[in-house]
Point group: C2
Chain length 433, copies 2
Amino acid sequence: MPQVLNTRDAGFEAEFTHLLGMKREDSPDVDATVAGIIADVRARGDAAVIALTERFDRLALTPETLAFTPAEIEAHCAQVPEGERVALELAAERIRAYHERQKPEDARWEDASGASLGWRWSAVAAAGLYVPGGLASYPSSVLMNAIPAKVAGVERLVIACPTPGGAVNPLVVLAAKISGVDTIYRIGGAQAIAALAYGTATIAPVDKITGPGNAFVAAAKRRVFGKVGIDMIAGPSEILVIGDGTGDPDWIALDLLSQAEHDQVAQSILITTSQAEAEAVMAAVDRHLAVLERREIAGASWRDYGAVVVCETLEQAAELSNRVAPEHLELCVDDPEALLGAIRHAGAIFLGHWTPEAIGDYVGGPNHVLPTARSARFSSGLSVLDFMKRTTLAKMTPEALRAIGPAAETLAISESLQAHGLSVRARLDKLNG
Amino acid sequence: MPQVLNTRDAGFEAEFTHLLGMKREDSPDVDATVAGIIADVRARGDAAVIALTERFDRLALTPETLAFTPAEIEAHCAQVPEGERVALELAAERIRAYHERQKPEDARWEDASGASLGWRWSAVAAAGLYVPGGLASYPSSVLMNAIPAKVAGVERLVIACPTPGGAVNPLVVLAAKISGVDTIYRIGGAQAIAALAYGTATIAPVDKITGPGNAFVAAAKRRVFGKVGIDMIAGPSEILVIGDGTGDPDWIALDLLSQAEHDQVAQSILITTSQAEAEAVMAAVDRHLAVLERREIAGASWRDYGAVVVCETLEQAAELSNRVAPEHLELCVDDPEALLGAIRHAGAIFLGHWTPEAIGDYVGGPNHVLPTARSARFSSGLSVLDFMKRTTLAKMTPEALRAIGPAAETLAISESLQAHGLSVRARLDKLNG
């Protein structure tokens, strides 16, 4: 049974606060192990990566076989059935079209003092995408990470994807090819992150590393942050559905379960103004859970972290949703546009009954790498901007310096930074002398 | 003596690589101490903050005196001399004007399938700015952190600034007032970061924490990252000047020293095509170092980390600069616009002889919080975007779902995510049935 809350109950505030504070992540402390692995890769390079891959992935590699050859890539791609290839290509095209619109503008202008100011965006030179092996090896995540990087203009784009026991997911290889990835390394874990960050004789270092991974990968990303850029450290997935009684309970139930089936610590929440809808959705969830392939995972998630909240108005529902700041928010209401203005914090919003969250996972266009664990209060999903950086520009004229230089000198002196002041003064003296 | 390199020397590549790899940061391992402080603040709230402030800052506070009162703020502001007040106001006005242009646009469009897509930017609700006490208490940093937050639309903006022994920098208080800061807490260190991230009875938690600090503050920011957003962890400052022999050696020397005087681990590098300029600048640096107030700090920085590189062409200079990816880059050349296109990685660029870097520290307009330690390869200076987040929007019509839903279903099944597929299929069945 999920938690069932009603805003009219006396204990509601305490129960809702408890829901917000639920700690879903069980991150084992692997930091010491990861520190050792990173040190080993920095010291021994390829030899360390190969030894660790043999140990963790039961796969014997050489420097020559660290990366897939073009022929191997072609062979794996050829195994993908036509239907899945077409679907991946449609997804890639839609994701590319959406992200093309995110490309930021450069700017340059002259202000009243005559100074020329502005900024210029440029792509990071090289990026590495981590793709988990095994069960959580999702081709859609390859598209969602690689396409924004390519749209940004990243020149060298590589993937690290472990192939435990040599098992390869051909869809991942095809997704990489469709996205324009240059090289796929069959390595994983903290050793892959270390190799991407510091480089080895065979693997050139990158400037930015993105993509999901297990506790070892997450700890390694935290450790190499600063040496390279990283994306967010993603937590377990979550969805919040706001209903007004106009939705199909079956659809809402499946939407809730499509988060729950990811992970037993995923969280699915329904907030509805309709007691009848709450009850019908719960019944529908139970019905689907009886037959769902991943019913053990989804059932545990729904039982331990699921919640159904009955409230009185949609404004109240929006307020509660803002406190959750959900990764995915579905507005399963009659007039989603009217409700949109009341939503302040969410990673992605899906408007109306015809927009199941699963559309956003694959073919909607927006990115599916989104802020979890309430971090939508302060962060955004992955975008083209994550693979670019902005350089600010300033150019003074003698007149501009005459106008604003003295203020800089005054502030420099007030901060006891004499050379700062002198660097301005020397130029002003020339102008005045 | 700084390192002196010439690209024509046989050992140049090794020497330059050594320069790039120099580790300037000596970050003591304070992580265990910081973990204890954060746990204490989470457990005991105000009582812990007050006890730690008494211990580290020799200052006895109560919950009532944690924050400055409006009357105290007025009294401190009244102490600021007229000249400095006017200079701060000019700086604030220019910084605000520059950052206003960074405000991002929302977007919403309909694609060929009939789906409505887009995104919406919104401000984080509350932000906390850390301002160091003592020597490195810079009013200019208050402006550079607070103004982008206000321009972004942050509703509640607070400062944490320790006042060791009760010593207050009136310019910091005035800068906070000019920037529109709501509350100034007289607390610092890891305890201030913990209080801002987790909240206490008196201090409401914030969503984002920015601003520089010592090793304890940096370690605390790393630890609370995820619970709240943080800006970068800044390292020691650096400047790179590219010269072509047309600059005034005195001006270049002062620009190099204005970084060196920040910190003995700051780094100042000159890359010039003119051997004569290299020699004249080194002589000018020595001349100024003899009399500079902060000559011990600046001298140590120049001796231990300074470098002068003589190369043959400006293209070569740009390439070397790109490998450094400096925080501050001055193009002290005859035609800086022509050189600009060759620069790929830099936090901020200052064009031409009339643009000393110190202008950018105070009154230029662009932010002075910039990526250090080669991180301009993958990150940007502080901006309005650091105080905003983007929510993606997607709305399907029945027709759009009919067009792209089957591809989503195919990919969901290929990833063994049955409920994802069913959530799309249930809607398609309704359309077809």
